[in-house]
Subunit: 309 residues, 2 copies
């Protein structure tokens, strides 16, 4: 689920707003469960990490700020709690008894991932140029002017390699639990030479992490829920074409032709391609409130293996 | 584990400090695992929730503050991550392969618990009297002047009734995982008339929650790790007596005689009594760095059933 499943653009981010948004999402998910699916859920955390970074910034003289991996862990707790409770409530409202569990999730990335030499993901507060130059010198941050609104920190977005808690997540699904995990793309960790894990200040793309998660739990289908009902060619142009069903080869071709925006539909289509190449039978990209209809084949964009064409 | 397993008095609370403290604790826990114990771990979160409340306060005009249950969930993510990673690293350092999992945990309390009419637990920032009176009027907070340092919010400390995620935690232990759960006494929730869970602004005593957790996972032993090596009668008085082994009846008698301080040793001894009355064979109260020796019977205070006297 995209971040807007939890916090919509323009909302300030009160817990009431987030719970209200999540309630709608929980209803869709429980309907999917009622259809007989076993669900592993993962979701974005961008606005919530942004808020924690703002709070840390404002209080920095009295409370030492935490690094980004720890902020991510905080949001896994915060959002896992809200989502889990909403699912618990919706399940019991419909008379279903089923444990829901939030698993704190680390995701392994490669210490030598080229992304670490080229940070591209803007996060946190906007700063004046003077302040930004000071932070770059003091903390070694990469920063960039962002769309005329000020300077922002850039962090690396390395490729996810493995879900560290995958075996546990698999066991929980087998035991009949609804599992929430890998929030915000997971907490990025690298393995040091001595084998120890070490958190890194980076942000993993949540769609790519979802694909790895889907693969490691042996999911048949990957459902990517976002804010458009279908993937489009020529998005928002007069000749826009909405896609109903495409093969993995078509998806790759359209991707190559530049139809899908980096940081938006691009990683979703890339996640779809990788999922199918790794053995999934079906990836569906659709809007959050269309999930049930899309699973039934009435809407959404379905990406399928070439031999299902 | 008490909060000082993670953040010691006088420390500011950087992630480095907390990781350093946790590393020592993780070494003790892994030694306990090597002795053949299956471990479910729970820990305090007081200083970390305090820091989040301070950050929220400083940023309150730009980021809406979250209620206390959500702050607790944030610390379950934050601390679960740091503890889990340290345990992972210590286990792999000793050549042990064993999954470690942090389970977000809600704890059921009674909506009519008398504690809700009498908030007693001070949390968060200190305020001036004028500001405190404004907050009491605006938000309906209970507040009290605290040891000459300013006014603080008081929240209820209701009794824990049940660990909402107990069945999952049990399954994970049976599957061979080391489980971290019920941090900070758990996220307090009540069941509404329609059966739905609802978070409440309260703090559950972590020792009492640990006892409920121990009971619900069917633990034989409850190990309460704090900052003293043994429980004392006449604590810090010239006639102080350190206790090595006492029965549950003796513990109740000493508790009645007022030997154990509320909010400190009191709830630990109360948790010990309840655990034994609920069927545990042994409760050990000792210092964090004495856990292994105490399990071997060389130190600590061991509370046992009357028939083991």
């Amino acid at each position: 689920m995209g971040g807007n499943a939890i916090l919509q653009r323009g909302q300030r981010g009160t817990t009431e707003e987030q719970l209200e948004n999540i309630r709608g999402t929980a209803a869709s998910i429980v309907t999917i469960i009622e259809l007989g699916y076993r669900v592993v859920l993962t979701h974005g955390n961008g606005p919530q990490v942004g808020n924690i970074l703002l709070q840390q910034e404002e209080a920095r003289t009295i409370v030492p700020p935490s690094p980004l991996d720890v902020c991510g862990a905080q949001t896994q707790g915060q959002l896992g709690y809200l989502i889990q409770q909403s699912l618990d409530n919706e399940l019991s409202h419909r008379g279903l008894r089923m444990p829901v569990v939030t698993v704190l999730t680390q995701v392994l990335v490669e210490a030598h991932d080229p992304a670490f030499r080229n940070p591209t993901k803007p996060i946190g507060p906007f700063y004046t140029e003077a302040k930004a130059r000071r932070l770059m010198a003091q903390k070694g941050w990469a920063m960039r002017e962002d769309s005329g609104r000020g300077w922002r920190r850039l962090v690396p977005s390395p490729k996810p390699l493995a879900i560290w808690e995958a075996s546990i997540i698999r066991k929980l699904v087998e035991a009949g639990a609804v599992v929430i995990s890998t929030a915000g793309g997971g907490i990025p960790v690298v393995r040091q030479a001595d084998g120890r894990l070490q958190g890194v200040e980076a942000v993993i793309d949540k769609d790519l992490a979802a694909q790895i998660l889907a693969h490691e739990v042996g999911a048949d289908s990957l459902l990517i829920l976002t804010d458009v009902q279908q993937v489009s060619l020529n998005y928002r142009l007069p000749d826009e074409v909405k896609l109903g069903r495409i093969t993995v080869s078509q998806a790759k071709q359209y991707q190559k032709e530049g139809h899908f925006k980096a940081g938006s539909m691009g990683p979703k289509v890339e996640a779809a391609v990788r999922a199918l190449e790794a053995g999934a039978r079906c990836v569906i990209i659709t809007a959050l409130d269309q999930a049930v209809d899309a699973l039934a084949g009435h809407t959404g964009t379905r990406v399928v293996p070439d031999d299902d064409a």
